[in-house]
Symmetry: C2
Subunit: 111 residues, 2 copies
């Protein structure tokens, strides 16, 4: 029985940490099939246990998906969820301001 606001807040909170935001950036830049945890670890240069904790936070929030491939676990971004969250954030934050503002949404601007 988690409301829309609560769910969005949980997801934004999960993104609200430099390491986790960096992880996500890596994931979206990596292969579609997902990026192994070990590769993230070597690139970000943090202890494996710390990384695993952050990955679990992102996964619990539903922002990333995980699939095993042999001994490695491949993480990848859930674009559907990310899209929905961004959409909600924009409409939530700027629905009032947009009325007085003829400019297009931020992600559509070409300037």
């Amino acid at each position: 029985m988690t409301g829309r606001v609560e769910q969005a807040a949980e997801r934004l909170k999960a993104l609200g940490h430099p390491v986790r935001l960096s992880i996500l950036r890596r994931l979206v830049q990596g292969p579609e099939a997902g990026t192994p945890a070990g590769e993230l670890q070597s690139r970000l240069d943090i202890p494996a246990s710390t990384l695993s904790h952050h990955l679990a936070t992102l996964a619990d929030a539903g922002l990333v998906l995980v699939a095993r491939e042999g001994t490695t676990l491949r993480y990848r971004a859930d674009y559907g969820v990310l899209r929905a969250l961004t959409e909600y954030l924009w409409q939530d934050c700027c629905a009032g301001g947009a009325a007085d503002d003829p400019q297009p949404s931020p992600c559509c601007r070409r300037d």
Copy 2:
């Protein structure tokens, strides 16, 4: 010397709390000149000190602006910052996925 990722993370973190997200929703729906803290307090039904704490968090993150008007303090959303944050989030999260995905940005879709 706060980097782009760190700043975005701080702002997302500030939004990552149900009460603060609710506050922001109220602000964007309220008058352009801003909404008095007292009005937020009565609508959200939380102690004034708790509300003040959350407002300070939002203000510190640069998401809201405040102006005094007599004895009341009016808070309003900073749309420029919110727009920039949403834009960053979208491009940050979906730059990789967008290449394989012909769909427009979430805030531009009309479906």
